[in-house]
């Protein structure tokens, strides 16, 4: 039982990172129906920028993170602008276009930071917390807290601000939104920018948990994507539940199947998505003839 809960707790922090990645995916997907396969690579860029300012420029962790947010937000805007002609049109082309951006970002990261990657020092040097016989790393708690705060901020933004409401409207029906005077392009750009900033948040938090390298984007991206699919495309609560599930699932399969954990995670994911294609909170899409 002890081991069971320890494994659960161990999966939560990475799960929170996946949840942030999935939220970025979701936000972009719901506003413009675009699945951004470059998102994982944006996370990687975020991780590199944050770690560079934290380790090399020796800024404190928080300002380093904020700089990463700004940088990736700008990258998000560029991707959105370039792929705008394809929005709400050919899905496969958009998918491949974002994969193209992913390749570019990975190459850029390799050119700037080298192919080898780096370890990031843990910014929270406190001793692990003992709780009901479970050892919880303080940094894990910080990750969970930041993820929770970001979720609350995002939900408040979407529900309480005018810009957020406009984005919701675009998500529901972009044509009707245009008709009531919402600038859909600008709204999409904002969604993309925020989504990319969430990616940087996820990336900078993941830095001390994982190893920062140009290829981390692929792994984080596909896990975050799986998290969004399990939770339901475009659903914010779904992203959180999906992210934590994938994190915990990974933690258990790492415990039981060791090297084969990824194999097991993706097989379970495939079966889950076949049983319930719309995910936990997803909406059934009706075919319109």
């Amino acid at each position: 039982m002890q081991i069971f809960f320890q494994t659960l707790v161990g999966g939560l922090s990475l799960g929170a990172v996946y949840a942030l990645v999935a939220m970025g995916f979701s936000l972009v997907y719901r506003t413009m129906g675009l699945v951004n396969f470059a998102h994982g690579n944006v996370v990687m860029i975020g991780a590199y920028v944050a770690s560079t300012f934290y380790l090399t420029v020796t800024l404190p962790f928080i300002p380093a993170m904020l700089i990463a947010l700004a940088v990736t937000g700008a990258i998000g805007l560029v991707i959105e602008r370039v792929l705008r002609p394809l929005e709400n049109k050919d899905f496969t082309l958009m998918l491949i276009g974002t994969i193209g951006f992913g390749i570019v970002l990975e190459a850029l990261a390799t050119l700037i930071w080298g192919a080898t990657g780096r370890a990031v020092r843990n910014p929270v040097q406190a001793a692990p917390v003992e709780l009901l016989g479970l050892r919880i790393r303080t940094y894990d708690l910080v990750v969970l807290a930041v993820a929770a705060a970001a979720t609350v901020a995002l939900v408040l933004f979407l529900q309480r601000t005018k810009r957020g409401a406009a984005m919701q409207a675009v998500a529901m029906n972009h044509e009707a939104a245009t008709a009531v005077g919402i600038h859909v392009g600008r709204s999409n750009a904002v969604a993309f920018g925020i989504g990319a900033s969430l990616a940087a948040l996820a990336g900078s938090l993941a830095g001390p948990l994982l190893y920062v390298s140009p290829t981390m984007g692929g792994t984080l991206g596909i896990h975050g994507f799986a998290a969004m699919a399990i939770g339901g495309f475009g659903s914010i609560p779904g992203a959180i539940v999906g992210g934590l599930s994938i994190g915990v699932l990974g933690s258990y399969s790492a415990g039981h199947f060791e090297g084969y954990s990824e194999l097991v995670t993706f097989l379970v994911f495939t079966v889950a998505i076949m049983i319930r294609p719309t995910g936990i909170f997803g909406e059934t899409t009706v075919n319109r003839a």
């Binding site: 370039v82 792929l83 002609p85 570019v104 190459a107 596909i222 799986a226 993706f266 009706v286």
Partner: protein, 608 residues
């Protein structure tokens, strides 16, 4: 038969092909050992690209596991020769079977999910495969498996990469020819239809589940063959060859070359592979470059290099021909002997349909006599199209039964209903946009089953004969509907009225017994409506029962023998047009309330 300019075109094409073959055969004489090696590997990537092109470009199945099929083929060959001690060719045959099994496995999710979901699942499964070969001791981990034997061939030493090139060239030529044959004959045509619009494809009889599996089988077959050739050429396999980075490279090859053209896929593969090798010392810059090329291609040339000549030709033809193509008159069908009536063709019994608590159809019952033209009218949102979707199998009814000539057909898949003789058109036109008008017709005309696809392997000549037969039939249908002039254009570029007529022609191509027309007159002008009435009457005259949803009351009154009126999902009237129009319930439903009905009859806009 009107094929005026093909002979010259064909002659050029055959000449080009002959030159290509001669050049390909002569190539090794001009290359050094290392260049020969690079070309050998490039051909393997071209094979992989063909498989990916068939799955993604032709069948529209997002397949990001192509590199895993490649890996399965290569690793199976390696393990079966080194561990199990089998001969190379026995191992190769088994490896191909194992790849096909992997194709079926990866294709399974496609039965439930599509597009982005399918992309992520296939990518996840590719990662799972990589994870397995890196970890399992049997596959040698990151070191891989070496000492794979040289494929034996009497009289030819295949350890010589120059000679291996000719083996590869032969396999590649056969694979390309087979792929092109598939694309141009019934199986590939159905796949292309499914790619453009899977709902409409199902409604004209394409067995969507089998077609999706067939797409993955084809992709895995090409992947498996490439894997076997790779194992025989390099005689060493390691996980890095089958990485996700190579999957994305493969994707880039297909996009740059043009995913809907197999020639394009092959050319893209060879170009990109050679470019990568040429820039091997600047690998990261090369990666940056091909990433940018993919983005630029996707935005500015979505059909890839292969699409450029066609786009140029289309632009030139637009300028040249102008108004030569004309919509000709419809030539009526031969009237059939009116069946000894009284038979009920379609029986709707207590059909209900709920959408998450919203009741779209509520206990709808009526029957349609054989050989009748039956109208279904009602205000917008009254459930007419939902009813058609239930009858044609797109929706599953919540309750009740549909009977076709006494046989219960409720809940059957659309393609099965199409085979039973139900055809339909769609309110918002669902033609296959990337297929020519002729191919649109051919897809529906072809009544053979995907199951008979094994004949592609055993007796392609039979397929070819049958396809020629179909084409002859399509000429007759095209000219009957007066659309011969448009046979080779894509429907999207044609005026709306012509598209409507093509859709009816496509529905009739499947030789149905029951034809469902969903607002066939929407958007037509007066003359076109008159032609439509003539066409529908002739179709009925040939023995087909017609059910038509229509807002144009003039058309309904003149065309239909019986009319069923729906409002809020319920049948509120059923009878001859005169009875129905006089019914108080109908007047209330259209004009909303008693008080309005007392005012002079200002008919609602939809009723003309």
């Amino acid at each position: 038969m009107k094929l005026p300019d093909v002979p010259t075109g064909l002659r050029y094409r055959l000449a080009a092909l002959a030159v290509a073959v001669v050049l390909a055969c002569a190539l090794p004489y001009t290359l050094g050992a290392y260049a020969m090696h690079i070309v050998d590997v490039a051909i393997i990537f071209a094979l992989l690209a063909l498989g990916l092109g068939l799955a993604m470009g032709i069948a529209g199945q997002v397949n990001l596991a192509q590199v895993a099929f490649f890996g399965v083929g290569a690793y199976a060959t390696a393990l079966l020769t080194t561990e199990a001690g089998l001969g190379f060719w026995t191992a190769a045959a088994l490896a191909l079977l194992i790849s096909l099994a992997a194709g079926l496995l990866v294709g399974l999710p496609a039965l439930r999910i599509q597009s982005h979901y399918l992309g992520i699942v296939t990518l996840g499964l590719a990662l799972a495969f990589l994870n397995w070969i890196v970890n399992t001791p049997m596959a040698g981990g990151a070191d891989g498996i070496s000492a794979i034997p040289v494929p034996p061939l009497p009289g030819i030493d295949l350890s010589d990469e120059y000679l291996y090139y000719y083996l590869e060239l032969t396999v590649f030529t056969l694979a390309l020819a087979f792929g092109l044959f598939v694309v141009r004959t019934p199986l590939g045509r159905r796949m292309r239809a499914m790619r453009d619009d899977d709902l409409a494809a199902g409604a004209v009889g394409a067995e969507i589940p089998y077609l999706r599996m067939a797409a993955f089988l084809l992709a895995s077959a090409y992947g498996g063959v490439a894997g076997v050739l790779y194992a025989g050429l390099i005689r060493y396999v390691a996980p890095e060859t089958f990485s996700i980075a190579n999957m994305f490279l493969l994707l880039a090859m297909v996009i740059v070359g043009g995913r809907q053209s197999l020639w394009g896929c092959a050319v893209g593969a060879v170009l990109l592979f050679l470019a990568r090798e040429w820039l091997a010392d600047f690998a990261t810059y090369a990666q940056l470059g091909y990433g940018l090329v993919v983005v630029v291609m996707v935005v500015f040339a979505p059909t890839g290099l292969a699409g450029i000549p066609r786009r140029l030709r289309a632009a030139r033809e637009r300028r040249r021909t102008g108004t030569r193509a004309v919509l000709r008159d419809f030539q009526p069908y031969e009237p059939a002997d009116r069946a000894t009536a009284e038979r009920t063709e379609l029986e709707i019994r207590n059909i209900s349909k709920d959408f998450r608590g919203l009741r779209a159809l509520d206990d709808v019952s009526f029957s349609v006599a054989a050989g009748a033209i039956h109208g279904v009218v009602g205000p917008n949102g009254s459930g007419k199209t939902t009813l058609f979707n239930v009858i044609s199998g797109l929706y599953r009814a919540t309750g009740g039964a549909v009977e076709l000539d006494g046989q219960v057909i409720t809940g059957a898949r659309p393609y099965r209903l199409s085979l039973l003789g139900i055809a339909r058109t769609f309110q918002n036109l669902r033609l296959f946009e990337e297929l020519s008008v002729r191919d649109n017709i051919l897809v529906a005309m072809d009544r053979t089953r995907t199951r008979s696809g094994w004949r592609y392997l055993v007796w392609p000549v039979g397929i070819w004969r049958q396809d020629r037969e179909l084409r002859r039939g399509s000429e007759a249908l095209l000219s009957r509907f007066g659309i011969t002039d448009y046979a080779d254009t894509t429907p999207g570029s044609l005026p709306y009225g012509i598209q409507r007529r093509i859709e009816i022609a496509r529905a009739m191509a499947s030789r149905p017994r029951l034809l469902l027309l969903d607002e066939p007159a929407a958007g037509l002008n007066g003359e076109e409506v008159r032609q439509l009435a003539e066409i529908v009457r002739s179709i009925r005259g040939s023995g087909v029962t017609v059910v038509v949803i229509e807002h144009n009351m003039g058309l309904v009154m003149s065309l239909c023998e019986r009319v069923t009126v729906l409002a809020s999902g319920q049948v509120i009237a059923d009878g001859t047009p005169e009875e129905v129009v006089a019914s108080p319930a109908v007047i209330e439903a259209y004009l909303g309330g008693e008080s309005m009905a007392e005012e002079p009859m200002a008919l609602p806009t939809e009723v003309q």
